[in-house]
Symmetry: C2
Subunit: 198 residues, 2 copies
């Protein structure tokens, strides 16, 4: 399978992390996500939004959106529960991640680490504020739990881990969220774990 | 089943629309999503983010996030494909909707129709701009297609329809997106269709 990838993207990292757990070899084509003047023409026809990750299956079929790719690749593996309700709880966290975490932590990280343009300080602070609100919700859920769903490591943990474990790059200290911090260490200790830089 | 609902919320409407198609009777508990000073305490313990929709099953189990609820309720029905890849394409559109459409069209609509506070004009225009970019992507995909995935009406259409069909309330005219407009009419003509005000 071929992954249209960006090494620094948390969304792409999710796919690489699951593939590592599953023993799937991914051919990686690098896409520039830093240079916003780049219209990412290479993704034209693959993803309507021209965003990575985009997965191209061996038969040429194409899938975008990290959450959809995780659900597709995890099917039949131990990284997604069989029970329909537990599976629904996993998808709940995948949507939470794309709606509450990535648009806030991810954008704050982009502004602080990569932005090659001027931005209003208020944009950064509002993203950090909303990111912290999502971390408060995550902290409440993880308090007394090892993993997000049914005490089993799943694609819910993989998806949420991506931007949360890099919160410091978004200007947010995880020390304020002790249950989240403990869970971050537990995810990083799973067999087959790889770092975002790998 | 009991739905923690807000009549004006597009995210809640998705669940009501699918339930109508499936013939599921929903008991509805109304939540105020307009008054932002309201901490929505009634949702505490149900959804970490205290957002609607929240579905409470007859056995008391709780599910949040409209996309997760749609996937759960649609299982085994004609509103989600059986084929794993087509199902993945449906989930791709569910994530696209929550990441590109709802945070832009939905927020622009909230500011224009419901906001009880002052907001910077730039916030509205940036949300409308990003919403139009997502509509351009949607227009490109729907050109030459009847429905989003495999020419069959599915929960992908239901999810995307919710905020798109109300684009005018977000200050965006769908006449600029003719394939989207045709698809909106086709979705509204499906058996069992209900309006957001129903």
């Amino acid at each position: 399978m071929l992954l249209h990838d960006a090494p620094v993207s948390g969304n792409c990292y999710k796919v690489r992390l699951l593939a590592s757990h599953l023993g799937i070899e991914l051919e990686r084509v690098e896409t520039d996500v830093i240079d916003r003047s780049n219209p990412r023409e290479s993704l034209n026809g693959l993803n309507p939004m021209r965003q990575v990750p985009v997965l191209v299956l061996d038969d040429g079929r194409v899938l975008a959106e990290s959450g959809a790719i995780l659900l597709y690749l995890a099917e039949g593996s131990g990284y997604i529960p069989d029970d329909p309700f537990h599976r629904a709880q996993v998808t709940q966290w995948l949507f939470f991640e794309q709606h509450e975490l990535e648009p806030n932590l991810g954008v704050a990280r982009f502004l602080l680490q990569f932005a090659q343009f001027e931005y209003p300080p208020r944009l950064l602070s509002s993203k950090q504020h909303a990111g912290r609100e999502a971390l408060v919700a995550l902290e409440a859920h993880l308090t007394g739990r090892r993993f997000l769903v049914e005490e089993e490591y799943s694609i819910a943990d993989i998806a949420v881990y991506a931007y949360v474990h890099m919160a410091q790059e978004s200007g947010i200290e995880l020390i304020d969220y002790p249950a989240v911090l403990e869970w971050v260490l537990l995810v990083a200790a799973q067999p087959g774990h790889i770092r975002i830089s790998q």
